[in-house]
């Protein structure tokens, strides 16, 4: 059973005690169900990332402005002098 705290840290989610009980319950159920995968032999099978069997389209290298800075920043919870702002982050 994976250590839930590790995954909370990885996903930046902190579960309350109640939530933790529910999440571990489901996690147990799910991981248990995943055991069924073990019975299938997949040797030589290439993973399927997307069902589409097409080539990636490619863009020409042309710079185009699609939205204004005002519009971009209008969604920012906090900004300062056209920068997005967060608490001091130590490098």
């Amino acid at each position: 059973m994976p250590n839930i705290e590790d995954y909370e840290a990885m996903t930046k989610i902190s579960l309350s005690e109640d939530e933790k009980t529910i999440v571990s319950g489901y996690m147990n159920m799910l991981l248990d169900s995943f055991k069924k995968l073990e019975d299938t032999d997949v040797s030589g099978v290439v993973p399927l990332i997307s069902v589409l069997d097409v080539k990636s389209p490619m863009r020409d290298d042309v710079a185009i402005k699609t939205i204004s800075r005002e519009e971009l920043l209008s969604n920012a919870p906090e900004q300062h002098d056209a920068y997005f702002q967060v608490p001091r982050t130590v490098d």
């Binding site: 995954y7 930046k12 489901y26």
Partner: protein, 370 residues
């Protein structure tokens, strides 16, 4: 549960309701999650532009489950979703949604509606708030499949803003005169209740049919859950309280800002999915879970070859356990196939056809309704 988050108060045969995951320029779009509080979309989803170009009117934005996530707990609350209510109550002629886990496909027939899940890569996902990119597909709630496909013909076709699409610029949906053979996965249908089984048998009798074996069916839910939770977990990482959407208050440092924002902004289903997605992608589990699921996905896709049959018939419910039921709704997204669900003699039936073979679905439906 109400119908609309925002009701534009228009009516008529050309009205389309949008699930709150479909972005509209200048409108608040939250996909049913607090984490997107106050997010105003800076652009229109491609389907929105195409609706407007086709002369359709947008009737409103419908209430939805958070991001359209899977609810693992059995829900006794029988209120249908906003999109299905909008159509079944005659408020809107159509509704567009992203039905990843089957909620709309299961619900539509119960409320005398139909659902069209188009072939993956035929309808642009640009402007759809994503759940799982390789599985998401915008679909249509409608009253009548022939009308629904009429709407779909306006929406489908290559979009230069979505990199994962077929190159066809247009699709025509119409009846076909081909003789249709149904593929009948008896072992799956047998899991449905007696009344549903009876209705399905009655349906099947109108066609020629052949028994098929859905290999890997008992792994569909697992593969679907592993792949979708991983992709959803990735797609939820962008919600961090920095660029848009909800930001918690009272944080002490950047890590606290992330954690408070995401813990307060996400509901329990999102938290569970984000964590499960991280589990299946983490170093120790990538191979046995994620990579293996991708491999089995290929086996599933290759196992459905439509060589002796044209359309697969499935029930819309086989269990009260949502995780078990998920298997029914996993085939179409896992293999990128089109499907429809509708009510036949009061019971939900789901049909699945080959890639871009929507015409066979429409024809089968029309024959059965005749």
């Amino acid at each position: 549960m109400g119908i609309f988050i925002e009701d534009y108060n228009v009516s008529g045969a050309d009205t389309v309701a949008l699930e709150d995951s479909i972005m509209q320029k200048g409108k608040q779009v939250t996909a049913g999650s607090k984490i997107l509080d106050n997010f105003v979309s800076p652009f229109n989803a491609t389907v929105v532009d195409r609706l407007l170009d086709g002369g359709f009117k947008i009737s409103g934005r419908t209430v939805m489950d958070e991001f359209g996530l899977l609810k693992l707990s059995h829900d006794d609350n029988n209120t249908p979703s906003g999109a299905v209510r909008a159509v079944s109550e005659g408020i809107s002629a159509y509704a567009l949604c992203n039905d990843l886990f089957g909620r709309y496909r299961e619900e539509a027939p119960q409320y005398d509606c139909c659902y069209i899940h188009p072939t993956y890569g035929t309808v642009s996902r640009y402007g759809l708030i994503p759940l799982a990119s390789s599985l998401d597909q915008i679909g249509i709630v409608c009253r009548d499949l022939s009308q629904g496909f009429g709407l779909l013909s306006h929406l489908a076709g290559k979009d230069p803003k979505d990199g994962a699409m077929f190159p066809d610029s247009k699709y025509c949906y119409g009846k076909t005169d081909e003789k249709i053979t149904l593929g009948i996965p008896r072992s799956v249908i047998e899991k449905a209740d007696a009344d549903t089984r009876e209705s399905i048998m009655d349906f099947i009798n109108k066609f020629s049919s052949t028994d098929i074996d859905l290999e890997y069916f008992d792994l569909y839910s697992q593969v679907m859950y592993i792949l979708s939770s991983a992709e959803i977990s990735n797609n939820l990482s962008r919600y961090d309280g920095i660029k848009f959407g909800y930001r918690a208050s009272g944080y002490t440092d950047i890590d606290d800002l992330y954690t408070k924002t995401r813990s307060e902004g996400f509901g329990l289903d999102a938290k569970l999915t984000a964590i499960m997605g991280a589990v299946v992608l983490s170093k120790d589990h990538y191979g046995p879970y994620y990579e293996k699921a991708m491999k089995i996905r290929r086996l599933i896709k290759e196992s459905i070859n439509f060589d002796t049959y044209d359309v697969i018939v499935l029930p819309c419910k086989i269990s009260d356990d949502p995780y078990e039921n998920l298997a029914l709704y996993s085939l179409a997204p896992l293999a990128g196939l089109p499907s429809v669900s509708f009510s036949y003699k009061g019971y939900g039936i789901q049909l699945v056809a080959g890639v871009k073979k929507e015409n066979l679905l429409l024809s089968t439906w029309e024959v059965s309704m005749a």
